[in-house]
């Protein structure tokens, strides 16, 4: 057996979860789908005293039409979002990102909320949440609170989920008329973590861009919204010259990390490549 020993609690209610988190503090980890956590346990990158399995807590899974938003329960498996007609109709960015979230076997177990709460800087869903302006529902003993995606991701694997709290749902705004979404990533193997990727959500009117967001992942310690580069789009039609201006601006604006897959200069370059490949078809409509 590879992981260090730990205790295991199968929670039936959120109160069970809060009780263990209160008693064990940092020694406790919440187990959702486990598709990142169990890998880190196997490699002993993490060694919690106790895992609290929330897989049986009622009310945490499912995709609901909540008017202007889709409410996606934290325990909703990736495959459910991938195959959801609601997601395809109202959040095309999520629908196009989903096939890139790991591999089929992992999407069958991994959860939407787990990916957001784990906040891997190279993961797809945190960037989509920021691009779409999603709102996270965080529950604790004292009740629930809501945090905007912009202030949810605080740093490397760090989020606004505090001690004793659990992410329970994500409210994702439905796409509005005149807006378009694009998603693309570069990975060594389809389904692996991206070297760098882009979640774009922009307004397009008569072939010209309005406001919008270009959010990169694999580009920093959290999803990176390139606001200065996105501002260059406003009022412009797509052209090679515009693509070049944005690519230049991205080289100033992004400060990516380097690892075995790519150094920082290569990531900056690829960011510009992604903008071209993603936005050109959005402008063409």
């Amino acid at each position: 057996m590879k992981p260090a020993p730990f205790a295991y609690v199968r929670a039936e209610t959120l109160d069970d979860v809060f009780r263990v988190l209160d008693e064990r503090g940092d020694g406790a980890r919440v187990l959702a789908g486990g598709q990142s956590l169990v890998a880190t346990l196997n490699m002993r990158l993490s060694a919690p005293e106790v895992l609290v399995d929330i897989g049986r807590v009622a009310g945490l899974a499912g995709i609901e039409d909540a008017g202007d938003t889709l409410r996606i329960g934290a325990m909703t498996r990736h495959v459910e979002v991938e195959t959801s007609e609601l997601a395809a109709a109202h959040t095309p960015l999520l629908a196009s990102a989903m096939p890139h979230v790991a591999h089929p076997a992992i999407r069958n177990r991994g959860t939407f909320g787990g990916s957001i709460a784990f906040a891997d800087p190279a993961a797809e869903l945190p960037a989509c949440a920021v691009a779409l302006g999603a709102r996270m529902t965080i529950a604790g003993r004292g009740g629930s609170r809501t945090v905007d995606a912009d202030s949810f991701f605080r740093g490397l694997y760090e989020t606004a989920v505090g001690p004793g709290e659990v992410l329970t749902a994500v409210e994702v705004p439905k796409i509005a008329a005149g807006w378009r979404s694009g998603f693309m990533e570069l990975a060594r193997r389809h389904g692996d973590y991206a070297i760098i990727g882009l979640a774009a959500h922009v307004q397009v009117d008569g072939g010209r861009f309005g406001g919008g967001r270009l959010v990169f992942f694999g580009a920093g310690d959290r999803p990176v919204s390139a606001t200065r580069s996105a501002a260059l789009l406003e009022g412009e039609a797509w052209s090679d010259a515009l693509a070049a201006r944005i690519a230049d601006e991205l080289k100033e604006e992004l400060d990516p990390f380097e690892d075995l897959n790519a150094d920082a200069a290569m990531r900056r370059h690829l960011a510009g490549v992604l903008v071209g490949r993603t936005l050109a078809p959005l402008a063409a409509g």
Partner: protein, 155 residues
């Protein structure tokens, strides 16, 4: 708090109850407690797909679940799915196309391919490749595996 967990599940159609360490991965449980060594252990961190099993009707990485999470679940492995004959067409196609050499990845490949053919019976080569992208094969270069899945699709 308990570092041991009592679990009851169904494996290949038969009811199983055991007390296991909480840290025991599902694939280790299947191999070491139940002797079902057809599910292989490769990378043990979710990259290679050799440990692919079916949990509640869908493929999962046996190394990315602890056995405790499978309490109450319906688990099928290459052994059980071979006995039921469900994989017959795929297996025949793998043999015909030489889609294996050492065979280490084959059980995981077969379970993954079976789910693809169930979910998207009209999948073309590009989709077959994408769906199998989470399963490493170090012998074949994949071409023969894609051939075999394509061949089985029509049968």
């Amino acid at each position: 708090m308990q570092t041991n967990v009592d679990i009851t599940l169904r494996v290949n159609g038969a009811a199983v109850s055991r007390r296991v360490e909480a840290r025991m991965n599902l694939v280790d449980f299947l191999r070491e407690e139940l002797g079902l060594t057809g599910s292989h252990v490769g990378c043990e961190h979710g990259v290679c797909g050799a440990c692919t099993v079916r949990v509640d009707g869908r493929i999962a990485r046996g190394c990315l679940m602890v056995a405790a999470q499978a309490d109450g679940a319906e688990v099928w492995t290459i052994e059980g799915l071979s006995d039921t004959g469900e994989l017959r067409a795929l297996k025949d196609a793998f043999v015909e196309r030489n889609a294996l050499q050492c065979g280490y990845c084959t059980p995981g490949m077969l379970l993954t391919a079976a789910e693809l053919l169930e979910r998207r019976p009209d999948a073309g080569r590009a989709e077959i490749r994408r769906f199998l992208s989470g399963n490493y094969c170090r012998c074949t270069g994949y071409e023969a595996i894609v051939d075999a899945v394509e061949m089985a699709r029509g049968r």
